[in-house]
């Protein structure tokens, strides 16, 4: 690479690139060695002093090469655990954050409870106040923003065993068909609503009107909070009808098939004492409640503003909410 010794052979190949490639593939040894040997033959060995200096330099170079190889080895060894360390640190971070959100959510829940209590205390004085509190409680229960209790059905779902290599018994990387997806949970929840459920929670997460069940990566998220197998869905409704209707729904039938096919576990049974927490309250940034006397008017017309976009005041039944 260094000495510009004339190339020993100059064959007929024309393109310089081709010759370079041929050189690369045939002449592996630095041409400098051959040139130096020829020079030695011609001029005899160099004087002893120069020879000793050069020998020292070569020894130093070999020393440096050794150190470089050792450093590279150390780095390669150190890098593997580093990746594991980074992963562990990230996992720890995630754990800490989710613990924190859990704590905050719990504190929000207690605070909300306290607000409700204080409001009830403050309004308890006169009869109209008490009536307002009752209405509010009912509204909160309907919209999912208040805790509710009652009879209903408890549905339990769990992932099937992960696929195993039939030869080695090691877990394989092929698609995990026995895994419950967000769509499965959506199907079950929809079947529960359709069977007359009035309130539903998944693993202690209450579903409100704007709740979303979706997946991110391999995890199922309910309202952006991860839930995992085993899943327990609590649904409050008519204790005689709800379990039966749900049992006959398409989703339940399909899950019984999955039970056979993929080893998922599935059960739905009546439970007379279910208690569901409140869903986190969505913040209203733009929507403003409409004054009651206006909403009482049956025709949303006339009067100033020409606000044709005013919402109809009859409550939209949640049965049509989003999923036709």
């Amino acid at each position: 690479m260094t000495a510009s010794a004339p190339s020993p052979r100059r064959d007929g190949s024309t393109a310089p690139g081709a010759r370079m490639l041929a050189d690369l593939l045939t002449n592996h040894l630095d041409p400098g060695y051959a040139a130096a040997a020829r020079r030695r033959d011609r001029e005899g060995p160099p004087p002893p002093l120069e020879r000793r200096t050069l020998r020292t330099a070569a020894v130093l170079a070999a020393l440096v090469i050794g150190v470089v190889l050792a450093i590279a080895y150390e780095q390669a060894v150190a890098r593997a655990p580093e990746a594991a360390r980074t992963r562990a640190a990230l996992a720890r971070d995630v754990d800490q954050r989710s613990e924190r959100t859990d704590r905050l959510q719990r504190s929000a829940e207690t605070l909300r409870e306290q607000v409700a209590q204080d409001r009830a205390d403050a309004l308890a004085g006169d009869s109209s106040g008490a009536a307002a509190v009752t209405t509010l409680r009912e509204l909160e229960a309907v919209t999912g923003l208040g805790r509710v209790a009652g009879p209903g059905v408890l549905v339990r779902l769990a992932d099937g065993p992960p696929p195993k290599d039939p030869v080695t018994g090691e877990p394989t990387s092929e698609a995990d068909l026995g895994r419950i997806q967000d769509r499965d949970l959506q199907d079950v929840v929809n079947a529960l609503w359709a069977s007359g459920a009035e309130a539903i929670s998944i693993n202690g997460q209450r579903l409100a009107a704007t709740s979303a069940i979706r997946s991110a990566g391999g995890a199922v998220l309910v309202d952006f909070r991860p839930v995992g197998s085993p899943y327990s869905l609590r649904a409050i409704g008519n204790p005689d009808l709800l379990p039966k209707r749900f049992d006959g729904s398409a989703a339940a039938r399909r899950f019984r098939g999955y039970e056979q096919q993929y080893g998922m576990s599935f059960s739905a049974e009546r439970d007379d004492r279910l208690e569901l927490p409140a869903a986190p309250a969505p913040e209203l940034a733009y929507a403003r409640p409409v004054a009651p006397e206006r909403t009482a008017a049956p025709t949303p017309s006339a009067r100033g503003g020409g606000s044709s976009t005013r919402t109809p005041t009859t409550p939209v039944p949640s049965a049509t909410g989003g999923r036709p």
Partner: protein, 110 residues
């Protein structure tokens, strides 16, 4: 012979002292390793051919490392560092294999 001993001493020193590489130089370490291996195999083969020369060994090692580092540095600046690194590894890798084959022929006569 002394060079081989020095190589072994260097490896031991590196393993014992665990010198840390400054972060800006870290990307060049793999390239330096390949260039160093090329110099080592070239030196061994020359030695077996009976034409080993200290000066050529030192100069080829130093220039190999410098040129390889320069190519990678330029490639990084131009945004093609990965490709140029691959190029350097391919060229030096071919030479290493060729020299290793020559050494094998010398040692095993096969």
């Amino acid at each position: 012979m002394i060079a081989a001993l020095a190589l072994a001493v260097g490896i031991v020193l590196g393993l014992v002292l665990e010198p840390s590489v400054p972060a800006p130089l870290q990307p060049y370490l793999p390239i330096a390793v390949v260039a160093a291996l090329d110099a080592v195999f070239g030196g061994i083969r020359a030695r077996l051919d009976g034409i080993f020369d200290d000066k050529v060994f030192v100069v080829s090692f130093v220039s190999n490392v410098l040129i390889a580092a320069l190519i990678v540095f330029l490639g990084d600046k131009l945004g093609v560092g990965g490709q140029l690194s691959t190029g350097v590894v391919v060229v030096l890798g071919i030479r290493i294999f060729g020299n290793a084959a020559a050494i094998r022929r010398h040692v095993f006569h096969a």
